[in-house]
Structures are given as C-alpha cells and as structure tokens.
C-alpha cells in the first residue's frame, strides 16, 4: 500500500488556533510555518488520541512529537516526569536532546529535558530517579532497567506522554517486544498516558498502529502522514566497463562512482556488507587523486572511530562516507546531495530509507544512483527502480513476541514489586506482540523464571521467585535482582575479538569465526587498511600494517540480507518480458538473448531447472529466486535426497537467485527430486541439528536468563562462568524437547525463517510445473552461480565433511611436487 492510499487524517485546524502565541511567534520568528503533521499531532494530543506519524527521515517529525508536550508543560506546568522519549540509538537520543534544547531555550520554556543511557554517570542516574526532568530521553534497555526498580510506580505516576522514535526499526524485533511489554507496565502505572509513534514509511501501517496501541487495536491510534514527500530520482549507473558475471564488489564501476562523488557536494555510499565497505573504501582511495575527504563507517569499527566520522559528516567536513546499514538509522544530515547504493539493494523499503538520507532540504528531490555488481544485480536494480517509482514496499509485518523476552520481563517485574500471575497476564496481553499469548504459554514462562520449568526433575531447593501466601510472586533475593539488572536487554552480541595494531590502536571488532580462520602471515583488509595477522592474544587479534593490493583472506563479511520476495517477483517479471529488455544495458540484454537461444528463460509460474555435464561432474541449476537463505536450506535438502538416490552429490552453492548442485551421476527425474514432501521428510531432522537453531537457542537462553551474558574482559579473568550453550541445547533437546525455551527457539527460528515458508511456497508452485532442460554444456544464465563455487562459506552442519576437506588439503600440500 502506498502512503497516498493510507488512511490519512488531515487537520484543517488553523495554526493560530492550535498554537499558543509563544509557539506561533517562535515559528514565525524563524521564518517557518508549522507543518501540517505537526499541527495534526497537537490536535490529536488535545483530543487525547494516540498517534502514529509516518514520514520520511528529516521531515521534522521528531520535533512534532515533542510539540504537544512542550505546549502542555509550558501552559499547565508539570510536576516531575511528563514525557518519555525512546530511541533505538543512544546517539539519536543525544542528538534529539540537543535539537530539543533549541526551542526550549529560544522560547524560554520552563521545561527540563535530560538523556539517560548506559553512558549517564551513576550519580546523575540516581538523581534522575529522585528528581526526574520533565522530559527524559532514553533507550528501550534503560527503560526496562528503570521499570525494574521498586520506585518505578512513583517515578512514572505523572507520565502524560511517550514518544517512540523510529518504531519501524523496533516493531517485530526482540527490542520491540521488550519495549511493547514496558509500555504495558507504563500504562498500568499511568493510565492516561498518550503514545506518539514516529516511523519511516512502511508497507504495513495498520500493523504498526496496532503495535503502538494500548489495546493492540489499530483503530485507537490516529495515522498522520507527515513530510510532504518529494519524488526521488533513482537511476542506475550506466557503466562503460565490461559488466561482471559474478562477484559483489563492483570494482569495475568504482572509477565512475568516484566521478559522481567528485561532481556532488556530499555523497553517502551505501553497501550491503562490511567486506564490501572495506573494499569499496580501499578502491576509492586508490582512485582519489584529488585527495577528497572520504571516510568509512561500519558496525565493526571501534565506536570512537564511528563517532569521529559522524561528527565530521555533521560538520560538513566530508565529501563522502562509505557505510553499511550502520548509517540506515540515526541523525539527519541535511547536506547529503547524493546517495549511491553499491551492489543490489535486496529490498525496496530499505532502499527507500537509504535514498531518503539525501536531499533533506525540502522540495529538493532525493537523488540516488544504483551500482549493480554483476548481471543478475542489473535486473534487481532495474526491478527496485520500478518499485520505488510505483511506490510499492516490501517487508513483513511484526510477528508475535518471543517467550524469552517475556521471561526477562516477568523477572524484571518481580524485581520491581510482587506480581500476581492473573494481573500480569492481563497486562502483558495488552501489547500487540503478546495479544494472542495463551495462558498456558504464559504460565510456562513464569514457571521457567521461577524454577527452570523442567518437567522431569524439579529444582525444588533453588528458585528465583518466592510465592507469597496471597498468590503474588517476588524475586527471592537481592542477588537475583542484581543478576537480572546485569543481564537486561535483548541484544546478544556474537562473540567478537578486538582487532589491534601490534603496539598500536584498536581498530574495531570481528566475529570469532573470522578471527579463528586466520593463520599467521595471512593478510586481510580491515578498517580500510591492509593488515597482516600476527596472532590472537587475550581475546585480541594482533596485526601489523602490510603492503600489497590483494588480501589473501576475503574481508570480513558481516550482515548479508537476502533478497525480498517482492523484489524477486519483479526480477522474474522482467526476465519473462523481453519487450522490456530495452531498459537494460546492452551487455545484459545480449546475455539474456543468448540464454533464450541456448536454453530458455525462467517464467513466472514455472521452475526452470537446467542440467549439464561439466568436467567429470553433473550439474543441476534451479532458478528459484527465493533468496540465499532459502536456497541454502534447499541445497542441503536436495543433496540429502540425492545421496539416498545414489547420485553421489558432491556439493552445492546458493545465490539469491539460483541454487546449483553437482554430483557424480546425473539427475534423472527432477520432478520427483523437487517433490513437496521434501520439507516434511528431512527438514525437521535437519533443523534440529542445524547451527542456525543452536545460534537461536543461545540468544534465547541469554535473553530468558538461563545463562548469563558474557562481558568482554570478564571472560579472561574467569569472574564469570560461561557455558557452551550448544551442550545445553543438545541435552535439553534429547530429554525435554517441549521445554518452553525450545519452543521459544523454534518459534524464533520460524519467524527469522520466513525462508522456509518461501521454500514451501516455491515447491508447491513447482508441482507439475518444472521445466527441465538437459543441456550439453553450461548455459549463460548458469555461469554466475558456477563462478561462486568455492567462494562460499559453509555453515556448521557438515563438521565431518569440512574436517575431511581440511585433511585433504593437507595431503595435497604434502604431496605437491612443485617447488
């Protein structure tokens, strides 16, 4: 649904009627006229309505969120805390605070505003609980912590308004689940409290309204469309170079990207992975003859480094920043003239948000250029441009909330005050993510919090809750309260190691698996520099700066998103309509033409499968277009089947578009191979064993409070006992497969794995609609995936196979006669 179609509640009220003189004067004094959505929010507040403002970044919607509160406080005065502002990012809370101080100071309003985050000093936090400001700006985690104190009721009793920023980024995540639960407690303490949500454009505004509502009902929240949206000019880079067959780095196009940067004032260069960020940044510096100030920003860099880049950007000292999704959210930079997306965008909503980071001076259209890295990405970029033009978005509406988050919330509530299960159940089910929570599941969660909730052997002596005679529960000891507060939050970081220059600075962090794959002398790119690996000491990767151009180890991947269904459908539609190919670059059109001549093109309702011999192997390539994750699962299921059929499968590789499997013997009956029952047969067995489920379980176990968090630095000193959650998972799965934490794990896996649903949908469609082409050699469309072979990282299931392979490499090394 586009914004234009959405139910927009317009206000015709005149600014003069809604704004007190002091405010009207302030707007006028600045030469501004209040935006319609700002006035609409004031009107909603006066009517006592909850409201959701949907506007592109930089539409002045954050100020709009505070406007009613500023008016209320300055007109009627406020005792203590009046308005709570929640942001997903600490830095954003700080920035919004700074912006809020301007109108407060200029209008001399009797309003106090302060931030509270993990960085706030202890004495200030203590004081804030005793004498709170009128407006407190904080994060979901800090709010949870505040609500776990016995004085929470006193602190929030007079709360009139909650402003929730960037809620499109929170709803549907575990942080969002936690925030939604906290809101139900705030509502219980301060029933008259109004909610204001601020969101970027989403495909599911009604689900977001329900998420924001106090009764999980979309109808009780007004929808306000903000920020006169300006059309974006999105184009594709028409490269002069040969368009690559595969790869994701778009190195071929970077000289032209550099030209664009030179021509524009300030450019944001978005990429999809940290590896792309490193390589694109490195290449741009090679090309940077004019010595333009170009910086790098991604989530693995040291925080100080990122802050420095953000500050330089805000001050207008940079010409370009190469960034990953680490800059998708956050502070507005009005001065960005151009957004360049290197690599296919993977999803339309994200592209729209990224494009929206440019041209914030209203009535200047946003300008963006897409830079495809290979031929398939050309199709994807073309599809994305169509989608932006037609205003269609993708993304899934928020799913039901997690049991693990609920467990943490139950414990937090037990720390604040004794709770009665009946009352707490009623309270939490007011949150949209838990509106459908069954009483049995709730009771199981409480039992888990209390004594672990194990069916076969109860921990009678060791409990975390004490049951009072009137049926209320409270935390059994101060030690349990401390434990909860130490472990609050739903972000579970992967185990990371710092990257440090030997006798030099820390550059950032990499995930453990990457660090452990390095061998002495290996070179890799990190933080825009070529480094040589020296060793790992005390949880730190030590490296020295190295020369040379080509790293031996591909850079750190990090954060790869699969293609959305919406975009995949558009790509398929382009392929199926040769009449539209004139919109594609010549090289790509020729590639498709030869494919049509040599084999055929995938059609929307048919699954094209090609098979051909190559070397001594037989290849099968299926054009499923269901995204990389779904294809990996499919590859695993197909090879299992082929193994049973005696075809001796040897491996598979998946991209966002296709899956290729190779075997010793050719596949005969493709239709049977792709039978729908594949999912029933093997999927469950595989799922339970998969590293994906183990990772999910680890997160669930930490969030639910089964095992404690690891804090960097404490691991080494042994202050904290850490557990290998895989061992716990294996044991629990065998002896109590229906335990609440395993149910939570499977639910999460299913919600993260819409990929399985995509797979099921694809197999259903493919029933009797498989077009099998036997070819004598590889087809043009199959070339890109074959080029990916060997570059793919394999997931943890195939331990024995990988170990065999490692041993084989050793043999090859040992028997190699070359000097």
């Amino acid at each position: 649904m586009s914004l234009a179609e959405a139910a927009v509640r317009k206000t015709s009220a005149d600014a003069q009627e809604l704004l007190p003189d002091r405010f009207a004067g302030w707007f006028a004094g600045r030469g501004w006229r209040p935006h319609a959505h700002q006035l609409a929010l004031v009107a909603a507040a006066q009517a006592g309505r909850h409201a959701l403002v949907i506007a592109p970044t930089g539409g002045g919607k954050t100020l709009a969120g505070f406007l009613p509160s500023l008016i209320e406080i300055s007109e009627a005065g406020a005792e203590g805390l009046h308005t709570l502002y929640i942001s997903p990012l600490k830095a954003l809370a700080v920035d919004v605070h700074r912006n809020l101080e301007t109108p407060i100071a200029e209008m001399r309003l009797p309003v106090t505003a302060e931030t509270r985050t993990g960085d706030t000093p202890q004495h200030k936090r203590q004081r804030q609980r005793e004498r709170p400001p009128n407006i407190l700006l904080t994060t979901p985690e800090s709010l949870t912590l505040l609500l776990s104190y016995p004085d929470a009721a006193k602190l929030f009793r007079g709360l009139r308004c909650v402003v929730l920023d960037e809620i499109h980024a929170l709803a549907g995540t575990k942080r969002g689940d936690q925030l939604a639960l906290c809101l139900t407690r705030l509502q219980a303490i301060a029933p008259g409290c109004r909610r204001v949500g601020l969101s970027a454009t989403v495909a599911w505004p009604d689900a977001l309204r329900a998420w924001l509502a106090t009764d999980a009902n979309a109808g009780s929240v007004d929808l306000i469309a903000g920020g006169e949206s300006v059309d974006a000019q999105v184009g594709m880079l028409a490269t002069r170079e040969q368009m690559p067959w595969s790869g994701h780095m778009a190195v071929h196009a970077l000289p032209e990207v550099y030209e664009e940067i030179r021509r524009a004032g300030t450019t944001l260069v978005f990429v999809n992975t940290r590896a792309q960020a490193e390589i694109v940044f490195q290449e741009l510096w090679h090309l940077n003859e004019d010595n333009l100030p170009i910086a790098l920003h991604h989530g693995s860099l040291a925080r100080e480094q990122r802050r420095k880049v953000e500050a330089a950007m805000a001050a207008g000292r940079l010409r370009a920043v190469v960034a990953t999704s680490s800059l998708d959210l956050g502070i507005d930079w009005a001065a960005v003239d151009l957004v360049i997306q290197v690599g296919a965008p993977k999803g339309v909503s994200r592209l729209v948000q990224r494009v929206g980071r440019s041209g914030h001076r209203l009535d200047v259209p946003s300008r963006a250029i897409l830079v495809p890295a290979n031929r398939f990405e050309v199709l994807e970029c073309r599809a994305a441009i169509d989608a932006v033009r037609e205003g269609t978005l993708d993304g899934d509406p928020p799913q039901p909330g997690g049991f693990d988050v609920l467990a943490q919330h139950v414990m937090a509530m037990a720390c604040a005050a004794p709770f009665h299960p009946d009352e707490l159940y009623r309270e939490v089910t007011r949150a949209a993510p838990y509106a459908d929570l069954g009483r049995k599941d709730f009771d199981d969660v409480v039992a888990f919090v209390d004594h672990g909730g194990y069916a076969l052997r109860e921990y009678e002596r060791w409990r975390r809750l004490e049951r009072l005679p009137d049926g209320h529960y409270k935390a059994v000891s101060p030690a349990m309260v401390r434990r909860l507060r130490m472990n609050i939050g739903t972000i579970v970081e992967a185990t990371t190691l710092k990257v440090k220059i030997l006798r030099g600075p820390v550059l950032g962090e990499v995930e453990e698996y990457f660090a452990l794959g390095l061998e002495e002398g290996d070179t890799f790119i990190f933080s825009g520099q070529m480094l040589r690996f020296v060793g790992i000491r005390e949880m730190t990767v030590e490296a020295v700066r190295a020369g040379g151009d080509a790293p031996q180890v591909p850079a750190y991947v990090g954060g790869r998103l699969p293609l959305t269904t919406h975009l995949a459908e558009r790509v398929r539609a382009i392929l199926a309509r040769p009449a539209r190919w004139h919109e594609l670059p010549d090289q790509v059109r020729e590639w498709l033409d030869i494919q049509r001549w040599r084999s055929c093109l995938p059609e929307p309702d048919w699954l094209l499968v090609e098979s051909f011999p190559r070397g001594r192997k037989h290849f099968m390539v299926a054009y499923c277009f269901e995204g990389r994750n779904a294809h990996q699962t499919l590859g695993m299921l197909l090879t299992r089947r082929m193994e049973r059929a005696g075809l001796a499968p040897m491996g598979f590789v998946a991209t966002d578009y296709v899956i290729a499997v190779w075997s010793m013997k050719p596949v005969g009956n493709v239709q049977a191979l792709f039978d729908e029952d594949m999912l029933g047969d093997d999927l469950e067995a595989w799922m339970d064993e998969s590293s994906m489920l183990k990772r999910t379980f680890r997160n669930v176990a930490v969030i639910a409070g089964l095992i404690e968090r690891q804090y960097p630095g404490e691991r080494k000193t042994g202050k904290q006992v850490t557990f290998n959650s895989d061992l716990i998972y294996d044991t629990l799965r065998r002896h109590e497969p229906q335990h609440i934490l395993l149910r939570a794990t499977r639910r999460d896996a299913a919600r993260g794995l819409t990929d399985i649903e995509r797979l099921a949908g694809m197999l259903k469609r493919a029933k009797d609609r498989i077009l099998h082409r036997r070819l004598d050699r590889v087809s043009p469309l199959a070339v890109p995936v074959l080029l990916e072979i060997g570059k793919e990282r394999v997931d943890g299931e195939a331990v024995d196979e990988l170990l065999d392979e490692a041993a084989q490499e050793l043999i090859a090394e040992a028997t190699d006669r070359r000097p």
Partner: protein, 231 residues
C-alpha cells in the same frame, strides 16, 4: 560412530568418536571428566540449567559400552562435579550407574573435583592405575611416559574454507595422551593454551571428534590459541 586406531607407547588404542578411549588387548575402556551433576551444582547460584546432564552423560556412556563391550572401565577423575554431586544424583541415574559398576571392573580415578570415590555406587577408587607400560591418572604428572590422563578438557580447531572447524579432541605427543571431557556439560580448553601445550613435546597430534568420525591433525596444521572459553 567410528573410532580411529593409533599406537601409543606400544599399545594399540582406539579413539572413539564419543570421546572414550578403548584398549582392545586389555578390554579396557577409559573416559575422562564425566562431571556428573554439574547442572545442579549451578542451580544454587540461580543458573537453572536443564537438570539432565547426568542422564545424558550416562546415556552416552552406555552407548559406547555397548559398542566395545569392555571388561574394565576406568573413569579418569572429575567423574563427579563436586563432593556432594553423588548425593544429588537422581535415583534413576544412580541406579543406572550402579548397574554399570556392577557389570564391569570399575575404577574411579580420583580427581580435583572428586578427591574421594563415591560411597555406595560401586567400583573401586585409586589415585592411578597401571597396565603394561601405560599409567592412567587424572592430571598429567611431570616427566611421564605412557601416561593416559584427563583434567584439561582439550579441544582443537583447524581452518577449513576460511573459518575454524573443530571440537573436543584427544591430544598426544607419543609420551602422553590426554582425553577429551566426556561429560554432557563439560566444555573445552584449546590445546594451544599454554596450560596444555607446556605439557607436550614440540610436535603432537590431535584427534578431533567430528559428528561421527575422528580426524587427525598435526600441530603445525592447527590454529592459534583460542582464549579459554568454556568450563
């Protein structure tokens, strides 16, 4: 599950993929660091781990006993997570264990977690056990030869396709052999950690336990030290 055969100090041994060591000539099976009732030991501090670790450890032990049918079983110490652990064993698990100790010649080597052998679970206690040229003890001693021990919970990783793959392992330099921990909740320490590496000669072999097979690697093939991570 399969096992890897190797010679150690004149004895033909099998490294079982479960982590147990079998010596066919002597019909002797050894397992290290069962850490029974580790789960309940943590419950007292509010870490309510699933209380099924003893059951799981015994289940795996029964499976390997069925596979090799030994006459004698040697538990290389730290069989119980703490001195009260035997008393906390659920009745069903205690009964299973009694059946096993009765059916075999059962030797409890004492360890730092369990300095005394359990009173009423059968088996006999010893600080060490000798057979032919091999000696079995809990923790490696100075200047040992032909020594089979546990205590360190060794694990190892090797690079494969740009990442680390590995798991629990046996490690031997020809004079010593250290077994992986067998207990369901017993974690591991990387063999490259000085605590283990200082005991070994300059070259050694690890036998990494895969899912169903055992894989041998020389020291030079392995990865740098991973920080001690898991207990």
């Amino acid at each position: 599950m399969t096992a890897a055969a190797f010679d150690f100090h004149g004895a033909g041994l099998l490294a079982d993929a479960s982590g147990a060591l079998y010596w066919p000539a002597k019909e002797t099976l050894a397992v290290a660091d069962l850490h029974l009732e580790k789960g309940s030991a943590f419950a007292a501090n509010g870490t309510l781990l699933p209380p099924y670790d003893s059951r799981e450890t015994l289940r795996r032990l029964q499976a390997v006993l069925r596979r090799h049918r030994p006459r004698r079983v040697i538990c290389l110490g730290d069989s119980f997570h703490d001195t009260d652990a035997a008393g906390r064993l659920p009745a069903e698990d205690a009964a299973t264990l009694c059946r096993l100790t009765k059916a075999h010649e059962w030797i409890w080597i004492t360890g730092n977690h369990d300095p005394d052998a359990p009173a009423d679970l059968g088996g006999i206690a010893a600080r060490e056990f000798r057979a032919d040229r091999l000696v079995f003890r809990h923790e490696a001693a100075a200047h040992a030869a032909g020594e089979v021990s546990g205590h360190f919970h060794p694990k190892a990783s090797v690079p494969a396709r740009g990442r680390a793959v590995g798991g629990r392992c046996f490690v031997t330099d020809g004079d010593r052999l250290i077994l992986p921990a067998f207990g369901a909740y017993a974690g591991g320490l990387d063999v490259r950690d000085p605590a283990i590496e200082e005991l070994l000669g300059s070259e050694y072999t690890v036998l990494i336990l895969g899912r169903a097979r055992v894989h041998a690697f020389r020291r030079s093939r392995m990865l740098r030290v991973e920080a001690p991570r898991l207990l």
